[in-house]
């Protein structure tokens, strides 16, 4: 199929960017979206132009590195997938596809479609861990039984890949689904409860400091999340914060 691409080009963080039109031809419907981008880039390199910079790594939907806003949706129109798992069969011959970087004040653009998501890391530094040293003498893994239900729920929260689609999608650029998932994972497990109060306070404070917006519960993040992280995690974080403040 032949496609027109409208892509955000921006030289670096301090430059102004704009949308630029490109044409790609003979795109197979079996290609992944990023393979289509590879075709475009090969075309650009061969004509001596700079290729479009975009983040990507594992290309199997787990590393969370890829991050495009395609036709008005994070990771494009398909559900439950990252951009690298989006396939061209979702599009039709002759389509025009708009490709933009994830937008949020806390995710500044570094170049073209590459954004800086280190704000997520800094939120994790503020409390996204359990304070346990490596010694080889921690208690036996089966010493504390954990109900299957709690373990499964913690696992569902832990599935977050930190891609930032929730922030990109949110009309308020709120990071609460991301932070809620981490807070929930630890709040659901007995190991995490010792530090639960400090954790939620510190992570929320850092989230606010980074300039993320405020959740208005539209639920868009849950729909666009490639890993189906539930809004329940935000509710749980709210509860944890209230509990820890009283």
């Amino acid at each position: 199929m032949n496609l027109t691409l409208k892509i955000w080009r921006q030289k670096d963080a301090s430059s102004k960017g704009q949308m630029v039109d490109y044409k790609v031809t003979e795109i197979s419907e079996h290609m992944s979206f990023l393979e289509m981008m590879d075709v475009l880039n090969e075309q650009l390199v061969n004509s001596g132009e700079e290729p479009v910079a975009f983040d990507h790594d594992c290309r199997e939907g787990i590393c969370g590195m890829c991050s495009m806003y395609i036709n008005g949706e994070a990771h494009g129109p398909d559900r439950g997938v990252t951009t690298c798992q989006l396939h061209m069969r979702m599009f039709k011959d002759g389509d025009t596809i708009t490709i933009e970087p994830f937008r949020a004040a806390a995710f500044p653009v570094l170049k073209d479609l590459v954004v800086d998501r280190s704000s997520f890391d800094r939120i994790q530094h503020a409390g996204g861990y359990i304070s346990v040293n490596t010694s080889g003498n921690t208690q036996d893994a089966n010493a504390i039984p954990i109900s299957k239900h709690a373990a499964d729920e913690a696992m569902d929260a832990a599935t977050c890949i930190g891609c930032g689609a929730c922030v990109a999608t949110c009309k308020n650029s709120s990071a609460m689904l991301f932070v809620g998932a981490k807070v929930s994972q630890y709040a659901l497990l007995p190991q995490g409860q010792v530090e639960a109060a400090d954790r939620v306070q510190n992570m929320v404070a850092q989230m606010d400091l980074e300039g993320f917006g405020n959740c208005t519960n539209t639920g868009a993040c849950e729909v666009e999340c490639p890993k189906g992280i539930s809004l329940d995690n935000i509710a749980r974080m709210n509860r944890e914060l209230i509990k820890s403040s009283i």
């Binding site: 419907e29 079996h30 290609m31 992944s32 990023l34 393979e35 590879d38 075709v39 090969e42 650009l44 390199v45 001596g48 132009e49 290729p51 983040d55 790594d57 594992c58 290309r59 199997e60 787990i62 590393c63 590195m65 798992q85 396939h87 570094l110 170049k111 590459v114 800086d116 998501r117 280190s118 890391d121 530094h125 503020a126 996204g128 861990y129 359990i130 304070s131 346990v132 490596t134 080889g136 921690t138 208690q139 036996d140 893994a141 089966n142 039984p145 954990i146 109900s147 299957k148 373990a151 499964d152 913690a154 696992m155 599935t159 890949i161 930190g162 994972q185 630890y186 497990l189 190991q191």
Partner: protein, 670 residues
Amino acid sequence: MALNSKVPKGPIKDKWTDYKNHIDLVNPANKRNIDIIVVGTGLAGGSASATLAELGYNVKAFAYQDSPRRAHSIAAQGGINAAKNYQGDGDSVYRLFYDTVKGGDYRSREANVYRLAEVSANIIDQCVAQGVPFARDYGGLLDNRSFGGVLVSRTFYAKGQTGQQLLLGAYSAMNRQIARGKIEMFNRHEMLDVVIVDGKARGIIARNSITGEIERHSAHAVVIASGGYGNVFFLSTNAMGSNVSAGWKIHKKGAFFANPCYTQIHPTCIPRSGDYQSKLTLMSESLRNDGRIWVPKNMEDVLAIREGRKKPTDLSEEERDYYLERRYPAFGNLVPRDVASRAAKERCDAGYGVNATGEAVYLDFASAITRYGTEQAKIQNISNPSDAKIYELGQKIVEAKYGNLFQMYEKIVDENPYETPMMIYPAVHYTMGGVWVDYNLMTTVPGLYCIGEANFSDHGANRLGASALMQGLADGYFVLPYTIGDYLSDDIRTGKISTDSAEFDQAEKDVKERLEFFVTNKGQHSVDYYHKKLGKIMWEKCGMSRNAQGLKEAMEEIKALRLDFWKNVSVPGNANELNTELEKAGRVADFIELGELFAKDALTREESCGGHFREESAEESGPQKGEAKRNDKDFAFVSAWEYKGEPADAVLHKEELEFNDIELKQRSYK
């Protein structure tokens, strides 16, 4: 230079404990004055960084991704082995040790593997304490599954995302130390060279991928944890950015490179669909428990299927060749990874591949669905069930077992695997070879360590399922933090290492010249053009089966490719900005050199073992005719290569392997 593996004396089960009791330690006050650089933040690098920082060292960690959490360890699906014996099925440290050495086709170092098995249980304890949500049973205790041809259930798992959860555990431990200021994290930085001062590793040159700035970083020791080099084949299940550069740079500065030809080719991956393909996706090995592998018996049917005139379901049982069941009646579809992969290649090379590229075989669940359906009909007391009913009942069982994999397959291929057989083909998955290290995980350069998939260590010539995660975390959490102290205890009076030295000047100059070459060279081919060419040579001549003739050709062709690359490669943009083509150019340059050494290593090893199959070394007669033939008399050694200016000039050093606790046996699956 003679290789000294520094394996401690004494009985195998006491070696590690005794050794730990006698090595030198650095006191806490002195640890504060010692810097360590860790390159790579996957399971090995992440866990090492966190643990070293907990101990009190100042750690500088480097990742080319935008966060440590994105390292490719995250993609491991299946699980992690540990000799916990929670299932009471007779597992023990010795059994895990034995299975790993045997699985590696007797080409690994006994003492290392035993230590790995010993610390495996600690890993699970540590990860649970960190909040890793392993699967649990209804009693709230940890669940296990069985994996890849071993006789016990010792694999711990977190859904199909075990690697992700373990990495996030290590990442959380790192976060705690980053918050304390004990780890300084350098995201989006790529190591471009190691700096050796007075014979010791004292720092690295790194490039900031955002600004293009070249930075000097000094330390008292350098740890390389940069993963495997499967991308030398261009197509593999590795991440797009996975590369050999850190390992290759240290090789060129004196670290020996061991067994580069040991590559694991995984039999159940989704086949390539065209030339645009950028990477391959693995499907869990567990599918072979219920799927039957076949290709058409007749060439007319192959052509009819490729042209779309026939569907695979149109072929009767008589028209199908279940080649694994035919060749290996005892193990059938459950032969080990290397055997299954070679058999698929053999059929496809003979022209029986079932997709447009000619590189795919069927993995068919129809029999399993019928079998489960009939069973269910009996259980549910349905008399004379219709075929449709049987199919419906059976499909439910298959869905419960493999639903997520079937869904993933359908997303990628757009075919419903319940209705038509899946297509699979082998793909490069893991590299057992890597930088040579001694028992301390130190390379042949003092103060330079290598851990995780990047070293050659524990898997011999073939890795067992669920062992990669175990090794990465064992190295990082429980081995390196001890052994590195023994070396650093001599460095407590050294003080801060200056980056203002002739050695740093030289290294930085070399790095800058190379980058400058790439962006100014007026070539006509993209970096990917060369990478794809290299991949094709590697796959055809150094892939699943190898012969002397092909390997010699490969060496010639790769050398020619290298010369052409340095003349005609084209890299747009500048060196002082985010430039993904420039990053790729450096990596591919190193892959090309490694490829040549790879072929040379494969040529030298005139035996078949594990993932390395030499066509000249096959059984010539008897029931094992055509199968891999290992040669313990002449090749029970580790090939450690010393760099001498050109990959082809590398000098071989042999580390003889001694097996005192395990008897060497030939593998048979007939």
